[in-house]
Symmetry: C2
Subunit: 163 residues, 2 copies
DNA sequence: GAAATGAATGAGAATAACTTTCAATTAGGT
DNA sequence: ACCTAATTGAAAGTTATTCTCATTCATTTC
């Protein structure tokens, strides 16, 4: 649960990575938006305000590095770009609710899947060590609206499904 | 549960879509590989053997059309390309096991999530109409080598090209 | 304290997976 | 057979991301 600058910098140091000003600015921005599931481009826009000379490639490289170090988790919410969140130890207990109208991602905690995992493990011989559960629907704020044209949600056509 | 050529052709007809030879070839290939979660490019390679003049854009367009008609389901398994499977009525009861070593995708049926959905609905006001559950692990055929050397945890974001 | 060395950076080119454009072809009704 | 809108292939365009490479920066070495 590494959610503060000091601790992350220490990890970088330990692994012989340099603490460049760019990395610090990126980390601070990530920490200031730790609930926002930012994409690389969104993060770049934020970071550019602090340091206009920073390059997009550096943002991508830093995100890759932080994901490699398991500080961040690279996620895919189906909108065509990767999004990042801080990695927690209990990834097994937190899922995502994705609003197909506004694209907002919120989180939900639960551990109902543990039993399911061991059942699958037993039945299929598949050695599970992670899962990824997403719920698609319409959040309270958007009830009634249809697809958001800017984000392109939903990628799945379930909103129009006849059931 | 439209898994045969006749039925699909009828749907296309009903919706005023033309039954071009390209579409027929693509449909046949999809039906012949209905368990393979093909990507557009993979399907293109297969289809080109029957009809070398077919264009990649046509494959993409046909996949889009079939997804739009809810005949196919467009899926994202985290390898950077969309993959397709025939849509079943009971998508709510089938999940995916993704091998982080060889990239193979297999399916698993279950309906434990229904109760979870209504609970979330009640608690958050989020009106859920679909979900997407993936398990990451190592299949029976592979012995787990795909771990992040720093942590020993599996790499969720690793890209596995299917050959 | 300057030089050497390697990591990290920015800019822009490259890539991969699509998507769009557009002129030419064709399915399906008449 | 004819008409017309739908469909197609080829190629250009787009978008997110990665790569290349010359330059800069931080450390270590002298």
């Amino acid at each position: 649960m590494v959610h503060e600058l000091e601790a992350i910098c220490q990890i970088l140091n330990e692994q012989q990575y340099k603490l460049t000003p760019q990395r610090k600015v990126i980390l601070k921005a990530l920490l200031n938006h730790s609930n926002d599931h930012l994409s690389a481009e969104e993060l770049y826009e934020i970071v550019k305000r602090q340091n206009p000379d920073i390059g997009l490639a550096t943002v991508y490289r830093t995100l890759d590095l932080l994901a490699e170090l398991d500080i961040l988790q690279k996620m895919n919410f189906g909108d065509g770009r990767s999004r990042y969140e801080f990695n927690t130890q209990d990834i097994h207990h937190h899922h995502h609710l994705i609003c197909t109208s506004c694209g907002k991602v919120t989180e939900f905690d639960d551990d109902l899947l543990e039993s399911l995992e061991s059942m699958i493990q037993r039945r299929t011989g598949f050695d599970i060590n992670d899962h990824d559960l997403k719920f698609y629907g319409v959040c309270k704020d958007c009830s009634g609206q249809d697809v958001n044209p800017t984000t392109g949600y939903p990628r799945k056509t379930t909103v129009h499904k006849t059931r």
